[in-house]
């Protein structure tokens, strides 16, 4: 989530007058690899960082206000991008509005309004869980595209306690599994148990009779059974 590409729309305000054509050209020069220093208020170290701006388009202009849309690598500061564009143009600019419209797999079209969520929980109180099930997504649905390992039901309880995955527990595994690769570990029922780091290859995982095949990276809490 933190490392995924982000997409935004926003408004930036120029501090002086300048022809639109120059602005469009300038925005283009801010695509590709750029360097920026995180703002003073940021929660990361303030040193020069390199980031990729996949696109930076000016959609509309109203006087000194520009509506823009941009797709950037994680860790790109949009306020900084706007400020730097202003410096480049020589008139100065600042960001006045910003809305994130995509974060990795999550986009604006599928997002839930706070009111919908309130409704879902109110319906639940009245005994209907339909709306809740259509509003909340199980954690299994948001995983990064990592190789999967499926384990025996009998192995899940020790994994949930943080034990490494042992060879006899493995039932199926993706071909891409290699030592050092992060994998998602599922039970046979399709329940996510943990994200782990494989210590052996896919073939070894299946051929080994004993020994550790993956070490836990992030273990979930088990699904509570009422």
């Amino acid at each position: 989530m933190v490392s995924e590409d982000k997409e935004y729309v926003g408004i930036l305000k120029l501090h002086g007058d300048i022809e639109s054509e120059k602005v469009y050209q300038a925005a283009k020069t801010f695509t590709g690899a750029i360097y920026q220093t995180p703002p003073l208020k940021a929660a990361v170290k303030k040193r020069l960082r390199k980031r990729t701006v996949h696109s930076f388009d000016i959609l509309e202009r109203d006087g000194r206000c520009l509506l823009f849309r941009t797709k950037v690598e994680a860790g790109t500061y949009i306020r900084k991008l706007c400020f730097d564009l202003g410096e480049f143009l020589g008139v100065g600019a600042s960001m006045v509005e910003l809305r994130r419209i995509r974060n990795g797999p999550f986009n604006e079209d599928e997002c839930v309004q706070l009111g919908d969520l309130t409704h879902a929980f109110n319906q639940l109180k009245r005994g209907s869980d339909e709306y809740l099930y259509s509003t909340l997504s199980p954690v299994e649905k948001i995983l990064p595209d990592l190789p999967k390992v499926i384990v025996r039901s009998s192995a899940t309880s020790s994994l949930y306690r943080g034990a490494p995955l042992m060879a006899p527990g493995v039932v199926a595994v993706h071909r891409e599994t290699k030592p050092g690769v992060h994998v998602t570990v599922y039970s046979q029922a399709g329940e996510l148990v943990e994200i782990a780091t494989a210590t052996v290859s896919a073939m070894e995982m299946l051929e080994m009779r004993e020994g550790i095949v993956a070490k836990p990276l992030r273990v979930l809490d088990p699904i509570p059974h009422a």
Partner: protein
């Protein structure tokens, strides 16, 4: 992603399902039988309005859900409108 079928055991229609279908075929109700189970391991992509902080919104959602742990997937800066995810894992109802 390309999927494989190296199986140790052959009793495994469902395994292929998990490997091949990216779990899309497994509905939340199969895994999460009760609402509280779902609430304990779910996420929701919220359209956060401008104003309240991500932290505040996460707290409201957690309270509504009766979830013991709630987190959010990233903050935007003060002027911004939307951190598109709230997680509410681990409720202890």
């Amino acid at each position: 992603m390309e999927h494989i079928r190296i199986l140790k055991e052959v009793d495994a229609g469902n395994l292929l399902h998990i490997l091949d279908h990216d779990l899309e075929e497994i509905g939340p109700r199969d895994l999460y039988v009760t609402p509280s189970a779902l609430i304990s391991r779910c996420f929701v992509n919220i359209d956060k309005p401008r104003g309240p902080s991500s932290h505040e919104v996460a707290a409201w959602v957690g309270k509504m859900a009766g979830a013991a742990k709630v987190g959010h997937g990233g903050t935007l800066e003060p002027l911004a409108e939307k951190p598109p995810r709230k997680r509410c894992p681990n409720s202890h109802p």
